[in-house]
């Protein structure tokens, strides 16, 4: 069986079919990119997977477990983390605290233990901090550790968001336009990080992206969407030259 699978996934807003019976499957350790023009339903698929939206019909499976009806918070607990297209960070907290929130799914202390700050809480905090430091090192965020998010430039926020997702120690990570708003150099860094996530951390990556050079550099496979429907699926080069995809982008 495949590692992650969407079966006949649909999301309708009234008459608008944002996602229309989409089927795809991912293998463990794969990098799959979803491409398509604006409004093709890419982000909607992400919101369906992270359970912010309820699908109109269809089912989702992760590690052979159905997750279609799980509440949003248990999606993260299962090991699926995500980033957002327009950055949803905790604006008034420091980078460090943002990343520590990412550790939330590994926190086990009870309310009373925390109010008394028992030794077990203290010990756990240090473990979490250690994990966070590993991510900080992985993504070169050392200079920003104690900075508050609201004062950070866009490019750094984007990386912090990726870092926060990595702090959950995900098995599957959903990246919503990781390179949007980044300059060429930052985009190059991002592509290396995405490849490293796969090779060093063994994370499966599902990504929505517009930047074709980034897509072809990192992806194992590509899905092209338009009007909520799958147009083509396969090797990056194959999909890019697929006549339907070309037509969708050129508006023919």
């Amino acid at each position: 069986m495949s590692y992650f699978r969407a079966e006949n996934l649909s999301l309708h807003f009234g008459g608008l079919k944002a996602v229309d019976s989409v089927n795809f499957a991912m293998e463990k350790g794969e990098i799959l990119s979803i491409i398509g023009p604006n409004g093709a339903g890419k982000s909607s698929i992400f919101n369906l997977i992270s359970r912010l939206y309820d699908p109109t019909s269809g089912r989702l499976f992760f590690e052979d477990q159905e997750i279609t009806h799980e509440p949003p918070y248990s999606i993260a607990k299962l090991g699926i983390a995500r980033t957002f297209q327009n950055i949803e960070l905790f604006e008034n907290a420091s980078v460090l605290n943002n990343l520590l929130v990412g550790r939330h799914r590994h926190c086990t202390s009870s309310l009373w233990q925390e109010i008394l700050y028992m030794p077990s809480v203290r010990r756990d905090e240090k473990i979490h901090r250690h994990k966070v430091e590993q991510v900080i090192e992985f993504l070169d965020l050392e200079p920003y550790r104690d900075r508050v998010i609201s004062g950070l430039p866009y490019g750094v926020r984007k990386v912090v968001e990726l870092a926060r997702a990595l702090c959950t120690e995900p098995k599957l990570i959903l990246l919503d336009e990781p390179s949007s708003g980044l300059n060429v150099e930052e985009t190059t860094d991002m592509s290396f990080w995405i490849r490293d996530m796969k090779s060093e951390l063994g994370i499966t990556v599902l990504m929505v992206e517009h930047d074709m050079s980034l897509v072809s550099r990192v992806s194992d496979r590509v899905i092209a969407l338009n009007y909520g429907k799958v147009l083509a699926m396969g090797q990056p080069a194959e999909v890019q030259s697929h006549p339907d995809v070309v037509a969708a982008y050129l508006g023919a």
Binding site: L52, F84, L96, L100, V101, H104, I115, E133
Partner: protein, 383 residues
């Protein structure tokens, strides 16, 4: 400027980041302990009120400041704590038991209020909490078998360890300060642990909090319950301080005073709760001072400036009329709320931080460091 050289993860989570803090807070603790031997009984009594307001301030900070759930209903939680106290006393329940019961029961009611509040945001939540408080006020006035309605309830003096602790004794002062310190320590612990971070996460972005595995509903209810429980404890002390409680003491105005505590103190730090409480409680002595001393002083001043005795007497009379006008307290409150929001949005603690930074950076401080950024209205409806 002081540089901290961090060598261990412990450095970031300890209570006192460096020895300076220990000195400051140690001195403060000594001052609090010494106060009853130095200050007049009137000032000690004011300090008791400061501690009660500060406890509620901490409760509101947890809910409003850190979880981002506004509440204008905390007077109701205070009332529930106070009435639990008065009711249980009738059956000879000892102080520690009814004190904790007041907290626990209020906490449970807070959680029950929290559930409906889950679906509400911003202004709707404010209105819902106001409604809750108004309904509680009405219940207190009507449920006569328990609350004695508008006649109110007497609260007996605390009996603990075989001694009585009258409301104006040093013992009661120590009790209140002790509760305040314990509550603050508990709040600090909570805020530096996963639950505290989850609260902040919910405040800043519920969507992101959800996708990080935070059960938003659960934590909102937790925040409501904790905040209500702390307020319930304060209610118990409040009842003992006043020795008499009736429904009209727990009005919307009191809820607004509590919000003022964190607004004036600074809604981003626990320091704010204490500073704000001191400020709010000082309004009353300030009013007394206005009434008693200012008219005479102005009259004397106008005599000095060459006005005749008759004229000075007239001035004294008219200023006295303004100073003792009924609504003056309300006007001052209104003015303070507006003034702090407009000119000192970070509150007293924010001002203190700015002053500190000024001296740390001297002479490099720029006026623009804390300049307000221009913000434009963007619809909050789409959330």
């Amino acid at each position: 400027m002081k540089f901290l050289f961090k060598t261990d993860y412990e450095d970031d989570i300890r209570l006192f980041p460096h020895s300076g803090y220990l000195w400051t807070y140690g001195t403060l603790l000594v001052l609090i302990a010494a106060a009853p031997f130095v200050l007049s009984s009137y000032l000690i009594s004011q300090l008791v009120f400061v501690s009660i307001y500060a406890i509620v301030g901490v409760a509101l900070l947890i809910l409003t400041g850190f979880t981002g759930q506004a509440s204008l209903g905390h007077a109701a939680f205070l009332a529930i704590g106070a009435y639990t106290t008065a009711y249980l006393q009738q059956f000879g329940v000892p102080f520690p038991v009814y004190f904790l019961t007041a907290g626990l029961l209020t906490g449970i009611i807070g959680a029950i209020v929290g559930f409906p509040a889950l679906r509400l945001h911003g202004i709707y939540l404010v209105i819902a909490t106001i409604s809750f408080a108004l309904i509680v006020e009405e219940i207190l006035a009507r449920w006569e078998s328990v609350t004695h309605g508008n006649e109110g309830l007497r609260v007996k003096t605390i009996q603990m360890l075989g001694t009585t602790v009258p409301r104006d004794s040093a013992g009661f002062y120590y009790l209140c300060m002790g509760v305040l310190i314990v509550v603050i320590l508990g709040a600090i612990n909570l805020l530096r642990s996963p639950t505290g971070r989850a609260f902040v996460a919910i405040r800043d972005s519920e969507t992101a909090a959800k996708s990080m595995g935070i059960n938003v509903s659960l934590y909102k209810v937790k925040s409501f319950a904790i905040s209500a429980a702390i307020t319930g404890l304060a209610g118990c002390l409040f009842a003992h301080k006043l020795t008499f409680i009736s429904p009209e003491m727990f009005t919307l105005q009191l809820s607004i005073e509590f919000i003022m505590v964190i607004l004036i103190g600074g809604a981003f730090s626990l320091h704010g709760a204490v500073l704000g409480a001191i400020f709010i409680v000082m309004v009353d002595p300030f009013l007394t001072f206005l009434k008693d001393d200012i008219p005479g002083a102005i009259a004397n001043f106008s005599m000095l400036m060459g006005a005749g005795a008759e004229r000075a007497a007239a001035i004294e009379k008219s200023t006295a009329a303004v100073a003792s006008a009924n609504g003056l307290k309300g006007a001052i409150y209104g003015f303070l709320i507006m003034a702090f929001i407009l000119f000192e949005p970070l509150g007293l603690y924010g001002r203190w931080l700015k002053i500190k930074l000024f001296f740390q950076l001297f002479p490099l401080y720029k006026r623009a460091t804390f300049k307000r950024q221009k913000i434009y209205v963007k619809s909050e409806r789409n959330r």
